[in-house]
């Protein structure tokens, strides 16, 4: 009888120091969007994420094609320019947005900027904390990074101390799955063999509508690294990776510089601060895939393999990067760790509500009057976020639907804003908190447009590993409205898809069809 434990010999080969087989490299090349789209001398990535879609109904994409004289995901015949669609560049607060090579452009004058008839605009994220900041401490100028790490290293029980305080804090993953962080680290720490273990910062903030991680990586990268180092200590890992999606070229650069600076300051490397501990970090870039945010996909992507998901269990805590025990944590989760250790886990646990402790950086899109990133306590009512923090909709427009937690989160009717910002409450209402983005939808797009947008997103980003998601999203993209009512297919996707992508998409579709139509 076969055991359920699937092997990955190609990862076994790589961890022995073997080179990536030619076929595997081809598989990866043909998988990732960045490699599939031909490149011209000038490469423009135009945002097709939900924030920008909500802002223009997709007109900015058509306009960009016309302005640049090249179709989407095509290269001009003379090779001068290529245009690629990118599902969210993290400029949802200033939509629409594009990347001109690696330079961000955003705002109502996007077209003019693209054809050099207007000044380039690269607006910073408006950022604030509603209460005392935890994650945003560095960005709001309260406390620089790397304060905790040297002192933790002086303790003989450093690893246990980190595990204990993070456990007391009740910190849960902020990437959407909400798994208890200390439990994850303990699982890796418990591994009893002597091979390498890894910690990974998941900077693949793929949810259209979210930009908190981009902001953290660009503006306080040291805090992310410090959290990663503390995770490494807790897990007994000697190597860490920061995986930054390719749509965030600036975050990639700032993380790189922050690693160099941390090494120079003695926070990373060998025998760190005389503790005898070795820990170093490598920053790696994604290649264009939403599903890469899923941890098994992300780890395969780091290894140079196709970013498809694999069945869990085994979980990455046992079978992670190159088959070795690995803790994968979202950037925002890691950024909370230094403050937890500075203040003690109990202080963090006092924030939030019930088991959902602490804060969340909520992202509001450009249809709000006051778009931006706001650190708020978990449990804050959505109405407060929409009406007070966000200041209602821009120009007095009417809110028709509120997307929560990205494409896998779901949509709420305006009548449901009394729900608190808690995963438990939102789940009961059929949506998921996800990474904490709120995208306001007004009359600029219709419900059917949104359905089409969502199904197309599903079909384009499905990794293709499992039948229900691969074929279900294909059918959905072909006939969005009818398939949104095909309960048998939606149930199959929900019950039988391999990962959260295929399992959650039907709920998001259903939540949208449950919102009263507004056109």
């Amino acid at each position: 009888m076969a055991t359920v434990d699937a092997r990955s010999p190609v990862e076994e080969l790589l961890i022995r120091g073997g080179t990536l087989p030619v076929a595997a490299a081809h598989g990866a090349r043909t998988y990732f969007a960045d490699e599939r789209v031909p490149r011209g001398e000038r490469h423009v990535r135009v945002c097709t994420g939900t924030g920008c879609f909500a802002a223009t109904g997709g007109r900015h994409v058509v306009d960009a094609e016309a302005a640049l004289g090249v179709g989407i995901d095509r290269c001009a015949a003379d090779g001068s320019v290529s245009l690629q669609s990118a599902r969210c560049l993290g400029y949802c607060y200033a939509s629409p947005a594009a990347l001109d090579d690696d330079a961000p452009l955003a705002g109502a004058t996007l077209l003019e900027q693209l054809v050099h008839r207007s000044e380039r605009v690269d607006p910073p994220v408006p950022v604030a904390a509603v209460g005392p900041p935890v994650v945003l401490r560095g960005i709001l100028g309260r406390e620089p990074a790397w304060q905790v790490w040297p002192t933790v290293l002086t303790r003989t029980d450093g690893a246990d101390h980190v595990l204990r305080e993070v456990g007391i804090a009740g910190l849960r993953g902020r990437g959407g799955a909400g798994f208890a962080t200390a439990r994850k680290w303990a699982a890796v720490a418990r591994t009893d063999d002597h091979g390498p273990r890894f910690v990974v910062a998941n900077g693949d903030e793929g949810d259209p509508g979210s930009f908190a991680d981009r902001m953290l990586m660009e503006r306080d990268p040291g805090r992310v690294l410090e959290g990663l180092a503390l995770a490494g200590l807790a897990c007994g890992a000697t190597a860490g990776y920061v995986y930054v999606r390719s749509e965030y070229p600036r975050a990639f650069a700032t993380m790189h510089r922050a690693v160099d600076a941390a090494r120079a300051a003695g926070h990373l490397g060998t025998d760190i601060h005389g503790s005898g501990l070795d820990f170093d970090v490598e920053v790696v870039s994604g290649h264009g895939s939403y599903v890469a945010g899923e941890e098994t996909s992300l780890l395969r992507s780091i290894a140079g393999l196709r970013g498809t998901v694999r069945v869990r269990p085994p979980y990455p805590t046992r079978h992670g990067l190159l088959g070795r025990p690995t803790a994968v944590n979202n950037v925002e989760t890691l950024a909370a760790v230094p403050a937890i250790l500075a203040d003690g886990g109990a202080a963090y646990a006092r924030l939030g509500r019930g088991e959902e402790t602490g804060t969340l950086v909520v992202c509001l899109n450009a249809r709000f009057a006051k778009p931006g990133a706001y650190e708020v306590e978990l449990g804050t009512p959505l109405r407060v976020l929409v009406e007070e923090v966000g200041g209602g909709l821009d120009g007095g427009a009417t809110l028709r639907a509120l997307q929560v937690g990205g494409p896998l989160g779901g949509f709420l009717a305006p009548s449901r804003l009394d729900l608190p910002l808690l995963d438990s409450s939102l789940s009961e209402a059929g949506v998921a908190l996800g990474h904490g983005s709120l995208v306001a939808i007004d009359d600029g797009v219709s419900r059917d447009d949104l359905l089409r947008h969502l199904w197309q997103f599903g079909a384009d980003e499905s990794c293709g590993a499992c039948t229900p998601c691969r074929e279900g999203t294909r059918r959905g993209a072909a006939d969005p409205v009818a398939v949104a009512a095909d309960d048998a297919l939606l149930d199959l996707m929900t019950d039988a898809s391999l990962c959260a992508f295929g399992r959650r998409l039907p709920a998001a579709i259903r939540s949208l069809t449950a919102v009263p139509s507004w056109s």
Binding site: M1, A2, T3, V4, D5, A6, R7, S8, P9, V10, E12, L13, R16, G18, P21, V22, A23, A24, A25, H26, G27, R29, T30, Y31, F32, A33, R36, S289, R306, T308, R310, V311, P313, A459, D460, E461, S462, C463, G464, A465, C466, T467, P468, R470, E471, G472, T473, R474, R475, A488, L489, D491, L492, D495, A496, S497, L498
Partner: protein, 882 residues
């Protein structure tokens, strides 16, 4: 643990899946992406069941104690049906044209052609000679990729594209240009026919038999229609191959219906081979053998038996020679490959065979591979070793070439050809120095340590480095790995035996396992030769040897000779006979007048071919029993058309001493006869009676005369499957792992060998400055008579000389240029292939192609103990061909 499936209690071991549990009941849970040979990917989602109230994929859900599983939920059945519909609607209805796992499921769920869509127009890859890829039929289940990765270990395949565009690809180019080694695992596993063999016929019968290529002993199912092979597939329950095969066993069967098959006896008249009737040919053979025996005595006749023929045929051949002709002049080609193994392993441990079963490969945590390019010469065992290494076992490779496994190794000891004994002695010394030798084992179960210590004094790592070129530090590290692993296993090949001191190589290699207590113990992976030909172990087991009777009973042992003679009703000749090389020199000096060769192409495969040809010319009678007009047959006086392994009934013994059944899937071509039949007829023509008339009877008689095989019979093999020897009675399961309590030496102890390194017989000099190594390549087998008559020729169509790029530059050659390779005995012209798998100054060539007759170059230097030729060291000169 216990759980319930559809109200039925079942018990499964820990780690099993829900799917495993359902298979213990009548439930037939549908699967598409599942193959027992690989891990469960759980991607097709056709195996949905309800487990403890949740819909799960049975294949990837661990069974847990007390779990309640339902496979008969109608809602879930509807979901499975939807999975199949979603799958079918992407495929053209041509998917239904050829039976597959998919078509079976469609039929079961009532999904007909209307559920299918149109062709996606993804195209076909027709580049491979044996199979094609129809991308439109691919459902992206990934089984082919998993077979390539998890069973074969070649990593030639990938899924390419994303989402609904996902389809299998052999990298970015055509299949034939990929890393594919044509093992057929992908084709075998494909559930839709996207990957399918080119054959279109439908088989009417299937015969389980044992592969006739190499000594691994793969179980194969031969699918036949109209007395021709439709396809050959590996048996999932094959004890050694476990559902795997290689390009030779799986695909290279076309030779069997080649128009070049011999179908009529040939007799040389007026200098030319002319067709003759069987009675004429047999009468000619009998008359000439009779005449020569009368004129010169029985010892003027010599026979070479065949490592490709069955045990029963070998048994018959040696019995014919010993009883009807009356001489011990019978030998087989193990003489020119693994005679040093037979001698060395017998001397060290007591029995003439490997010590451990192949099953131990998956227990080993370290492999010491010496002189074996297993992934090419023994592909299925090579693949199993590679997988175990990928799973984490350490690997030390001793080889002059950077073979596939050497490239994967933790340590590659890239030895100079001919320096093995120094390296093994150096390792032995380090085991003792490091204290990793097993003192208790040595004290209780070995002998000869003191003498060994004296010799080892002369092998400090620095001296070993001088002799072998292996850096002293690397040698130390290798000793540390072998010395500190929990279950170290030694596998070796002809790179150890085919040397002037090959037996010393086997002995000194065996020393390492003895010092470590890694043989005859639960933590011992032992010492295991990878035997070259399919039945080279068996040919020797059957007594086709000049000094040994069946079951390794010595000719010089009066009791044994009498005992065997009593069963045979004959008085056996007392004096051991001639070894193969001595037969050739005997022919040249007049002692041998007749040479009877069964299924060996000595003119191509034996060293110093000019010498062999001269010996053949010198004989008054040369008989060649063959399936093709081989180089030897061309020179023979009588050629008798024989049958191939696909047409025979009998048994083979593989490299780990397993008797396995060989069953006829085809009838021989009209006019050809099995070697068994021919030998019976020759005996009869000579007025003798071999006392048996069927292979089963021959095996039964062999069991009677040889205590080692007393429990072996066709009837038992048919009933129980493979049996290893020793198997001493009808209820003895056989001894797969040897020497659990005592060694089979006279003292019961393993014998350490205190032998010094001696230089090889051939030395390079200024005139012949390169060292040439000969060996095999994956796509071809031995003299190539079989594989060259199959589409394997489209995979590798000619021989190339492997040479380091530095040497090419020095010689002013470019990759692919023709060169002339000259040794002290002859020369060949061959195109050169640049590779840094060799060090400068060394070259490699195979002997599969008669137009590049490698053995014109090799020398008549032989192993001092066993007369095995020194194929691995030939001094040559290389220059651009004019």
């Amino acid at each position: 643990m216990e759980l319930r499936v559809d109200d039925c209690d079942v018990e499964v071991p820990d780690g099993c899946s829900v799917l495993d549990a359902t298979r213990l009941t009548a439930a037939a849970v549908p699967t598409l992406c599942h193959d027992d040979r690989v891990g469960s990917a759980g991607v097709c989602r056709a195996c949905l069941v309800v487990a403890d109230g949740a819909v799960v994929a049975a294949c990837t859900t661990p069974a847990t104690a007390g779990m309640e599983v339902r496979t008969d939920d109608p809602d879930v059945a509807a979901q499975v049906r939807l999975v199949l519909e979603l799958t079918a609607e992407r495929l053209p209805a041509t998917a239904l044209d050829r039976p597959s796992e998919l078509t079976a499921l469609c039929e079961r769920f009532g999904i007909g052609p209307t559920a299918f869509g149109g062709a996606r127009g993804l195209g076909r890859d027709e580049s491979h000679p044996y199979f094609a890829l129809d991308r439109d039929l691919c459902i992206a289940c990934g089984r082919c990729v998993q077979m390539c990765d998890e069973v074969q270990g070649t990593f030639a395949l990938t899924l390419a594209g994303r989402g609904a565009d996902t389809v299998v690809a052999p990298g970015g180019g055509a299949w034939l240009d990929s890393a594919c080694v044509s093992c057929g695992g992908c084709v075998d596993s494909c559930p839709t026919g996207a990957l399918a063999e080119r054959t279109t016929a439908t088989a009417t019968t299937t015969t389980r038999t044992t592969c006739g290529y190499c000594g691994v002993g793969c179980s194969l199912d031969v699918h036949v229609a109209d007395d021709d092979v439709v396809s050959i597939t590996p048996a999932r329950d094959g004890p050694v191959n476990r559902g795997h095969a290689c390009v030779k066993g799986r695909f290279a069967h076309g030779f069997v219906r080649s128009a070049e098959r011999l179908t009529t006896p040939l007799v040389r008249r007026d200098g030319e081979l002319r067709p003759a009737s069987w009675p004429e040919a047999l009468e000619h053979v009998a008359r000439e053998l009779g005449r020569i025996r009368s004129a010169y005595g029985p010892d003027a006749i010599a026979a070479i038996s065949s490592a490709r023929a069955t045990n029963e045929e070998n048994y018959l051949m040696q019995k014919l020679v010993r009883t009807v002709i009356g001489t011990n002049n019978v030998d087989n080609c193990s003489r020119i490959c693994h005679a040093p193994s037979a001698a060395g392993l017998t001397a060290a441990f007591g029995l003439s065979g490997g010590t451990n079963p192949a099953d131990d490969i998956e227990r080993a945590d370290l492999f010491l591979l010496a002189g074996t390019n297993a992934t090419e010469a023994h592909p299925v065992v090579g693949a199993r070793i590679k997988q175990q290494v990928l799973r984490g076992a350490r690997l030390v490779v001793v080889d002059p070439r950077r073979t596939e496994l050497a490239a994967l190794a933790d340590l590659h000891l890239q030895v100079r050809p001919g320096s093995n004994v120094a390296v093994f002695n150096g390792l032995a010394r380090l085991l003792l120095e490091d204290g990793t030798a097993d003192q208790d084992f040595m004290a209780a179960r070995s002998e000869g340590l003191e003498e060994l210590r004296v010799v080892l004094a002369g092998y400090p790592p620095e001296r070993v480095e001088e002799i072998s070129g292996v850096p002293a530090g690397l040698l130390r590290e290798a000793a540390r790995l072998y010395g500190t692993s929990d279950l170290p296993a030694i596998y070796y090949g002809l790179g150890v035996t085919e040397h002037a001191h090959g037996t010393d190589g086997v002995r000194t290699l065996s020393n390492l396992a003895i010092l470590r207590g890694a043989v005859g113990t639960p933590s011992g992976g032992g010492v295991n030769p990878l035997r070259g030909q399919n039945n080279v172990q068996g040919a020797s087991d059957m007594g086709a040897l000049p000094d040994l009777l069946p079951g390794y009973q010595r000719v010089l042992d009066d009791d044994a000779r009498r005992r065997v003679g009593d069963v045979w009703g004959a008085t056996l000749p007392e004096r051991p006979g001639l070894r193969i090389p001595d037969m050739f020199t005997g022919a040249l000096d007049g002692r041998v007048r007749a040479l009877y060769v069964m299924g060996e192409d000595i003119a191509q495969t034996d060293p110093n071919s000019s010498h062999v040809r001269a010996a053949i010319e010198a004989c008054e009678l040369v008989v060649s029993q063959e399936i093709f007009l081989s180089e030897t047959a061309r020179l023979a006086d009588v050629v008798l058309p024989a049958a191939s392994y696909l047409e025979k009934d009998g048994t083979f013994v593989n490299f780990d001493r397993r008797f396995q059944r060989v069953r006829p899937a085809l009838t021989p071509p009209d006019g050809a006869r099995t070697d068994f039949e021919i030998l019976l007829e020759v005996a009869e023509a000579l007025g003798g009676d071999l006392g048996v008339s069927t292979p089963a009877q021959a095996m039964a008689e062999c069991a009677e005369v040889a205590p080692l095989y007393a429990g072996i019979s066709h009837e038992r093999l048919d009933r129980e499957g493979a049996l290893p020897w020793p198997c001493r009675s009808a209820d003895d399961p056989g001894e797969a792992r040897l020497y659990a309590t005592a060694f089979a030496t006279p003292s019961g102890r393993a014998r350490l060998a205190a032998v010094d390194w001696l230089p090889p017989g051939e030395q390079p000099d200024s005139e012949y400055p390169y060292v040439l190594i000969t060996g095999r390549r994956l796509a071809h087998y031995n003299s190539g008579t079989m594989t060259r008559r199959t589409p394997n020729r489209d995979l590798v169509g000619h021989e190339l000389l492997d040479l380091h790029p530095d040497d090419l530059a020095r010689l002013g050659l470019r990759d692919g240029d023709e060169t002339e390779v000259t040794s002290r005995r002859g020369s060949v012209v061959v195109r050169v292939h640049a590779t840094d798998a060799l060090v400068p100054g060394e070259a490699f060539i195979a002997f599969h192609f008669p137009d590049v007759a490698a053995n014109l170059l090799t020398s008549e230097v032989v192993d001092a103990a066993t007369s095995c030729p020194e194929y691995k060291v030939t001094a040559v000169n290389i220059r651009p061909a004019i």
